[in-house]
């Protein structure tokens, strides 16, 4: 598998809302940073706990990859995340994610999103302009 395949598989896995499938692509020393005003989750166990918390707030999560590019082991994605939040309803969050991949595992994942719409956090609504 190459870096792009790992990232595409990870993005697909979120649609299952299954923590085991989502975590299958994280390295033991991975970190996940869902937005820069959020704490960074470091290490497999902390990433797992944090993602599990996010999953509890949603009943649907589909990552639409609008654009992507690969440079060596780094994969950059422009996405619209289609999410149904339990307390809010359906949102479409536009953002970008950067993934660093070693072998068949993700070692770093940084998302660039505006994380809050009034008190509707943790995702924004809206779409790219073109």
């Amino acid at each position: 598998v190459n870096a792009e395949e790992v990232v595409r598989a990870e993005c697909e896995a979120w649609s299952t809302l299954d923590i085991d499938q989502i975590m299958a692509y994280f390295a033991a020393d991975a970190y996940w940073w869902p937005a820069f005003s959020f704490p960074k989750a470091s290490g497999y166990e902390e990433v797992r706990r944090t993602i599990d918390g996010f999953l509890k707030a949603m009943t649907k999560c589909e990552f639409e990859i609008v654009n992507f590019a690969v440079a060596g082991n780094v994969v950059l994605t422009e996405r619209v995340d289609h999410i149904v939040l339990v307390d809010v309803g359906e949102i479409a969050a536009a953002g970008m994610g950067v993934f660093e991949v070693t072998g068949d595992k993700i070692t770093a994942w940084r998302d660039y999103f505006y994380p809050e719409v009034s008190d509707h956090g943790p995702w924004a609504t809206g779409s790219p302009t073109s």
Binding site: A35, F36, S37, N67, F68, A69, V70, A71, V74, V75, L76, E78, A94, G95, M96, V98, R110, Y112, F113, Y114, P115, E116, A124, T125, G126, S127, P128, T129, S130
Partner: protein, 144 residues
Amino acid sequence: VGDLGTEEERVVREFLQATEGDQQDVDAMVSRMAEDIVWQVNVPLSAVVEGRDAARTEIERQNKRSTGMLMGSAVRSIASNDGTVFTERVDVVEIAGKRVALSINGIFEVRDGKIAAWREYFDSLDLAHQLGVDASILYDDIGT
């Protein structure tokens, strides 16, 4: 011997160089934009700037309140796919005397050697926290 990247990446790197210094170089930036550029300063919240003239006005507005990219600014990752160039960056700027290091990710669509679309993604709460202001004020006059 380094990887010089694609022609489109070169256009974007030159464009980003024009943002460096005490002030962004308006003429150098605008000269690398397509006539009908579509620029969203912060997806999804800010207004969309359409056309090179409007882009010039927006850059001039930014220059009144912010420095250009200062020492410490960096392109963390750059990659492209066809004419679409991704830049993951740290932009160090000074706004109202406060220096901030903003983690930001920009997408450029390059057509015939010019930037035809530009979308920037960042966490404006992160920026607001660094500035010590409420995030809502960041959008009062962007793109107007």
